[in-house]
């Protein structure tokens, strides 16, 4: 633990820390461009120069200098000031003065730091060098003349995303950052390089020239594109969310977000349901709220009612629907739209128990039927980190590129019963062995077989539970906590043949099985669910309502409202509350606060942020499984109605997954 002084302040830092980190510990701001705490150290921008004694009588790059005992660091000395001014002057030599037309303006490290640490004027009178723009795909827009060659994007691609497609070609004055042969970057995390870029060289293509950062209202939220529960910030102006950026949460998403999380939001202003609709003579026609409610009342369902929750639903909506059904005398709730019927008697047995951050520390991992890269990209980066620390990964399923070396055992669930020796040996030696069960495996009926492995593979140790299930739906864990599961899955609902069926943003249900039911779709997008419904009630999307979400590791998180729903659309719980009155079963809450109070009275864990912490118990299930396992996600970019309505996601899908080429239009 070296002890050193920074500007006279004594600090103690962990061994292996850098001088830059020591300065931060002392509360000193060190300007930097290339240094990023989540990437390897490059030391090529030279902006973090400080004076260090003992040492050579010249400024030193603090990001690459190990902190040592009895060092004296000066961050404000004349030498440091002059060095920073000099570095800044060099950086600005080739940087264009196009801040007024640059999307990074207002949130640009170079802009901020040149104001704070620069000289205020330039002595450079020669021509600046210009660099041709590079094509990096549908997400990243480039203006390479602005690039200061910090190589953060290159390091991110190599170290975090694992898709080595960005590099620096040529050298010296001619050095250029580019994707390989200017092809689109195929990583589903490529949007993060936009955040990483300290200048305006890499900016967001869908968000180009949309807004200035100071015009945007920033609302903390939770992402619903997958079950990771990425912490995000909705940046909105007026009635539209213009972009989504990740918020730092070390336990969940660190500071990354997948491209779908970031860029599906343009789907929130397309194909929206902004009026109630009622099916008349086979056609959905616009109606008033009263007419729509009357149509539902006319079904005279009595207690023959069921509700199916969609994948992106908040707990409040699910609770309101549950309360309404309970008042009507039914408990036919289901959230697993595609017909899965795994056992949910123990929530811990369908939870990501090692926690998302914890999986990093695993040293042997067996993936069962999970395309983790698509099902939970940010858990995949954690597994990648574990691999870098020396973990071995085995997988059952069809072979694919998960961005790290994987030993594929074959695509047969029967392997669970007779794991190869290499696996059992690795797990026997492992201190923190982990099993990751994907949605595909659950669907193929491997729950019992994987639970049967908990003992033989030693997955549960003191302070460690290595049995993990990766869900695909943001609403899944919350839904299961609220009882949105029937023993036989959706088949039970079909068997009950309800007269009235609520589809709560449920777009993946096979509606042909519900021919006889009056189907009421409460949701925000005109997708499959609304198309097959008899009554459509326009609801709010995840950016338009405060909500509680539980991610795949059982972490309860709260999201805020960024904007209001469009047109006549209302928050889902309010719709159900209004409907309850018409149906004569008035729900006992008039505000969201009251609803939340009622909900937490029933499920206390939903009222407390953080891991819900289910006690471990494993249901007794038949341990036989066989046959191949399929991956549920066929197209990463189009997994939900918002993404399907998004132009950006459609383009990503067409270009990155289906090889369609989009030549850059001449600008």
């Amino acid at each position: 633990m070296p002890k050193l002084t920074v500007d006279g302040i004594e600090v103690e830092v962990p061994a292996g820390a850098t001088v830059l980190q020591a300065c931060e510990a002392a509360g000193k701001e060190i300007p930097r461009f290339c240094y990023h705490e989540r990437l390897s150290i490059a030391g090529n921008c030279r902006m973090c120069l400080v004076e260090v004694k003992p040492g050579p009588p010249k400024p030193q790059a603090s990001c690459a200098l190990p902190a040592a005992d009895k060092q004296e660091v000066f961050t404000q000395s004349p030498m440091v000031k002059k060095a920073r001014e000099g570095v800044m002057e060099f950086l600005l030599i080739n940087h264009p003065l196009d801040c007024p037309i640059c999307d990074q303006g207002g949130e640009c490290d170079l802009q901020d730091q040149s104001v704070a640490y620069g000289k205020g004027q330039s002595r450079f009178i020669e021509n600046k060098r210009a660099v041709t723009d590079k094509y990096m795909g549908p997400i990243v827009k480039t203006t390479m003349t602005r690039c200061i060659q910090c190589t953060r994007c290159v390091r991110f691609a190599e170290e975090v995303s694992g898709i080595e497609e960005i590099g620096a070609i040529y050298r010296g004055e001619n050095m250029q950052i580019t994707s390989y042969l200017e092809q689109a970057v195929t990583s589903e995390l490529s949007g993060n390089v936009v955040d990483l870029c300290p200048v305006g060289a890499l900016t967001s293509k869908p968000y180009a020239f949309e807004a200035r950062p100071w015009e945007l209202k920033k609302t903390p939220g939770i992402d619903v594109m997958d079950a990771v529960g990425t912490n995000v910030r909705f940046d909105s102006r007026g009635r539209q969310v213009l972009r989504v950026l990740p918020r730092i949460n070390e336990d969940v998403n660190e500071e990354w977000a997948s491209d779908k999380t970031r860029h599906a939001v343009d789907g929130l202003v397309r194909r929206r349901l902004d009026k109630p609709f009622v099916r008349r003579k086979g056609k959905l026609v616009e109606a008033s709220w009263q007419e729509a409610f009357a149509a539902i009342k006319a079904a005279k369902a009595g207690s023959s009612v069921a509700a199916i929750a969609g994948d992106q639903l908040d707990c409040e909506t699910m609770y309101a629907a549950k309360a309404l059904l309970a008042a009507m005398g039914s408990s036919l709730l289901e959230g697993r739209q595609t017909g899965m019927d795994y056992d949910v008697s123990s929530l811990a047995a369908v939870n990501f128990n090692s926690s998302i951050a914890g999986i990093e520390t695993a040293d042997a991992i067996l993936l069962v039927g999970s395309n983790l890269r698509w099902e939970a990209p940010l858990i995949n980066t954690r597994v990648r980190k574990a691999v870098k620390r020396g973990a071995r990964v085995f997988a059952i399923g069809e072979e694919l590129n998960l961005t790290y070396p994987v030993q594929w055992l074959g695509n047969d669930l029967g392997l669970l019963g007779k794991l190869p020796e290499a696996v059992t040996e690795a797990f026997a030696k492992a201190e923190r062995p982990a099993l990751i069960v994907g949605g595909g495996a659950l669907k193929a009926g491997a729950q019992g077989a994987t639970l049967a492995l908990v003992k033989p593979l030693g997955l549960i140790k003191q302070d460690w539970n290595g049995y993990n299930v990766v869900h695909l739906a943001a609403a899944r864990m919350g839904g299961l906590m609220l009882g949105y599961a029937q023993k036989g899955g959706i088949a039970d609902i079909v068997a009950a043949a309800p007269k009235l069926l609520f589809l709560l943003g449920a777009d993946d249900v096979d509606l042909t099985a519900f021919d006889k039911s009056l189907k009421v779709y409460v949701g925000h997008h005109g997708d499959a669910g609304a198309a097959g419904a008899d009554v459509v009630l326009p609801g709010a999307a995840y950016t338009e309502k405060p909500g509680t979400y539980v991610n795949t590791e059982g972490r309860v998180q709260f999201s805020d409202r960024a904007v209001f729903p469009p047109g006549d659309a209302r928050e889902d719980w309010a719709i159900l509350r209004a409907l309850s009155e018409v149906l004569g079963h008035k729900l006992p809450f008039d505000s969201l606060d009251q609803l939340r109070a009622a909900m937490t009275a029933e499920v206390p864990a939903l009222g407390v942020g953080g891991l819900a912490g289910y006690a471990w118990s494993a249901p007794k299930l038949p341990a036989k499984a066989s046959g191949p396992v399929g991956y549920p996600i066929k197209d990463f970019y189009l997994t939900n109605p918002i993404a399907r309505a998004s132009d950006t996601m459609q383009r990503c899908s067409a270009e990155l997954l289906h090889g369609q080429s989009f030549a850059e239009a001449a600008e």
């Binding site: 497609e165 960005i166 590099g167 620096a168 070609i169 040529y170 390989y180």
Partner: protein
């Protein structure tokens, strides 16, 4: 990079070079090169392999050789490297040609020492022969590139043509070198004036007695009082 050669169309290159594979001799040589590095560090072999590949392409095309994209990818695949990493290396070093060159790749050094000693005349000689920077002559014989210091400053000005240096050039001697090459001959490699490698022009200026035989200078040290203890 205004004088950089135009990199050929990708589709065309892929059609021509997509099937690139080592010749049996080069395959053996490549294995030998890779074996020089410890297991897990095979990527270190990328530079010699790129050179080997460039030479093989050169042999196939009767030129000095270049590195088409599929060839780089072939090496990347062999070494288990991301293609962009190979591409980075190939673009970093001027010795790897990213575009086809002629039979003779004339690399004129234009860095300060050579420039002071007359590299402009050398370039002029090239221009007179119809060479243009970054381009190959119509007969496919010469490609001219101006490069930075090649480390033969004592013999400035100099050019490197394929694997050989031609040094202490003037307008006339450069013309002569190019003429000889064009006629299919092999000019004298090294200094083009009376001089042995980088020894002083016109013979030794110090230790002259050593030229003919091993001379014992110790007597002189004693006279000057500089004798070693």
């Amino acid at each position: 990079m205004s004088d950089a050669a135009h990199i050929p169309d990708e589709a065309e290159t892929r059609a021509r070079w997509g099937g690139f594979a080592w010749t049996p001799e080069n395959a053996e040589q490549a294995e030998k090169i890779i074996a020089r590095y410890p297991p897990g560090r095979q990527q270190s072999a990328v530079m010699p392999l790129l050179d080997l590949a460039q030479r093989q392409v050169g042999a196939e095309t009767g030129t000095q050789g270049w590195l088409p994209v599929p060839v780089m990818e072939y090496i990347g695949a062999q070494l288990g490297m991301a293609y962009i990493r190979v591409y980075e290396v190939a673009t970093f070093y001027t010795m790897y040609n990213l575009a086809p060159v002629g039979r003779y790749h004339v690399q004129v050094c234009g860095t300060t020492p050579c420039m002071l000693r007359g590299s402009d005349d050398v370039l002029e000689a090239c221009y007179k022969k119809g060479l243009k920077k970054g381009a190959t002559t119509a007969d496919g014989l010469f490609t001219l590139t101006e490069v930075e210091c090649l480390g033969a400053c004592a013999n400035a000005p100099m050019v490197q043509i394929n694997d050989d240096n031609y040094e202490d050039l003037t307008f006339d001697s450069m013309t002569a070198v190019l003429d000889t090459l064009a006629a299919g001959g092999q000019p004298k490699i090294g200094p083009q004036i009376e001089r042995q490698t980088s020894c002083p022009e016109g013979g030794p200026t110090t230790l002259k007695e050593m030229v003919a035989e091993n001379h014992d200078y110790r007597g002189r040290w004693e006279a000057t009082g500089n004798a070693p203890a």
